[in-house]
Amino acid sequence: MRGEAADALSIETAGLVKRYGTVVALDHVDLAVPRAAVGLLGPNGAGKSTLLKILLGLSRPSGGSARVLGRDAVVDGRELRMRVGYMPETDTLPDNATAADFVTHMAEMSGVPRRAARQRAADVLYQVGLDEERYRLVKGFSTGMKQRVKLAQAIVHDPELVFLDEPTNGLDPLGREEMLELISRIHQQLGILVVLSSHILDDVERVCDYVVVLDGGQVVASQPLHVPDDDTADLHVRVDGDPGPFLKRLEELGLATRPAGIEYTSDEFVVARDGDRSLDAIRDAAAMTGSPLRLLRPAKRTLEELYVDSVGAGANGAPGRRRVSKR
């Protein structure tokens, strides 16, 4: 985003390895992530937090290299940390400090002069919806308010990229909704790149436009979330009236069909794509059976499908852990 070509990469890793004794937390991770809102998905223990720590320079890799915003995470760690923000997963706020004091302090720790730090803290706390409460002690805050303070400290120094580790942890549905809206705004309106680490698919699906899936310390998927004009995807169809004759005709034309699933209307079906002839066959089947065609669109591969396929298969085809949370 800011000051960089749109096609530049936000994160690059090559053969990244992290070992804790005999346990391999990251196993030759190769990534080339564009400058986007990136979701980092994976079951618990997949290596998400370890990857974040290495990208922030908090942890040294056992092997390989990692670059963030074009800078080496190990060699240029200090320079890099001036340009990124970090919202950790754990509770990391001093109870006996006001939100304004703490966020001001964290701005100063990033090199912002004192007077500007005070102003920035006030502005950012306003942006995250804590304008009125900023002079209250943090220990009196709800979980949602504490999460907002953590988010405020992560962006108070105006970073180019912010790492958010499980930002909706412990939030009730309303709080989670508000937090996701805030994160979307940070990326879309404030122009700050976001790396959102989560095990909640909906969070990533709502905020991100690129996803990296880790499983067992390996990258099992790294791709854009929404692929426009996918001409290889299966097709969703819906016809008015009894779909029986229409589906039978499609079967006769050699196309397999199945119900679209519980998240779609009961009269919606998926037609397996069979090259270019699929669209013609659907048109012909509808015309021959006199079934009014009400819907015809490429079936989107949902993030859940991507996740289950990727994590289930694992990078080496090993059975994966399916600790997936779909809220």
């Binding site: 800011r2 804790y20 370890t50 720590k53 922030l56 320079g57 908090l58 942890s59 040294r60 760690g77 200090r78 320079e79 940390r81 001036m82 990124v84 923000g85 970090y86 950790p88 754990t90 509770d91 990391t92 706020l93 001093p94 109870d95 006996n96 400090a97 006001t98 004091d101 302090h105 964290m106 100063e108 720790m109 990033s110 090199g111 912002v112 002069p113 004192r114 500007a116 920035r120 502005d123 950012v124 306003y126 942006q127 002690l137 400290q153 120094h157 105006d158 309106q189 404030l190 122009g191």
Partner: protein, 290 residues
């Protein structure tokens, strides 16, 4: 009908603004962390309960000095509080003060989980420890050095001829600065080292106080064990902060009855070595990464 501009005040756009001002270097970050740590240790911008003990300790150190100056003003011939007496009297208070502030410096950050936040900032690990040393040193100096300097100023200004008296007392001022500074960093480094290993303030406070008490007992035990070898027994002061400080004050101010019979340079070397070891261990400890 629209109101005239400015009649009801102005509407400010509070949209997010990018920051394009200066970004200061590591020295600024170290100073910012030291300042913040000092403020928190003294209970500033915190509930009044957090301010009570530091204020009581400051009062306990200051009141004898003020009384001494007052007596000096009205009874010039009567010396109420000599410098060795002052340092002997405040050792315990400075020890308690360190036991109070050092855990606030180190243990609180661990307890509150602030270390990942700090280390994700440009400051880094060694400068973090440096900032905490600076904060602890400054605070402890305010207990060990500042009142002694005030006492020296009072003695000088209340003398019949202030300027010659102060000029004559410059040696004393030098001794005060050496004693105050060494005591501050010596006790501060020990307190910080102990506190850096735990996230629980109460544990750190307990271990620091217990450590001071036990070290005294250990020193006495060594002294007894080597009573037939006074040349060795005198070095038992090395394990006792109170005897080390007493020895420093005695040697500095020419009162060999205080502490052990150890040369000034040796006791300064012992204190400097303890400070260096504590710092080295802390720096190494905070360099640990996952």
């Amino acid at each position: 009908m629209s109101a005239a501009p400015g009649q009801y005040g102005e509407i400010f756009d509070r949209g997010y603004r990018h920051y394009d001002g200066p970004r200061l270097g590591q020295a600024q970050a170290i100073w910012a962390l030291a300042r913040y740590s000092v403020a928190r240790a003294l209970g500033m911008r915190r509930p009044w309960t957090a301010k009570i003990i530091p204020m009581l300790l400051y009062a306990a150190v200051s009141i004898p000095v003020l009384i001494a100056i007052g007596i000096r003003a009205f009874f010039p011939a009567f010396e109420f509080l000599s410098y060795p007496e002052f340092f002997g009297a405040i050792f315990l208070l400075v020890g308690i003060f360190v036991a109070l502030i050092a855990p606030e410096m180190m243990s609180s950050d661990r307890h509150d989980g602030l270390l990942p936040l700090y280390f994700s900032r440009p400051i880094g690990r060694s400068p973090y420890v440096l900032a905490k040393l600076l904060a602890t040193g400054l605070l402890t100096l305010s207990m060990s050095l500042l009142p002694a300097v005030v006492l020296w100023l009072g003695n000088g200004l209340l003398a019949p001829e202030p300027l010659p008296a102060m000029r004559a007392g410059l040696d004393d001022l030098g001794r005060i600065v050496v004693a105050g500074t060494m005591i501050a960093f010596y006790l501060g480094a020990i307190g910080l080292l102990i506190s850096s290993f735990t996230g629980r303030k109460s544990v750190a406070v307990g271990v620091i106080i217990l450590g001071f008490v036990l070290s005294e007992s250990l020193s006495v035990a060594i002294l007894q064990a080597f009573r037939d070898r006074p040349d060795l027994a005198r070095w038992s002061m090395v394990v006792s902060p109170s005897r080390t400080i007493a020895t420093l004050v005695g040697q500095l101010f020419g009162e060999p009855d205080l502490g052990a019979d150890v040369p000034l340079n040796a006791v300064l070397g012992v204190m400097a070595a303890v400070i260096a070891i504590c710092c080295a261990v802390m720096f190494a400890w905070y360099q640990r990464r996952d």
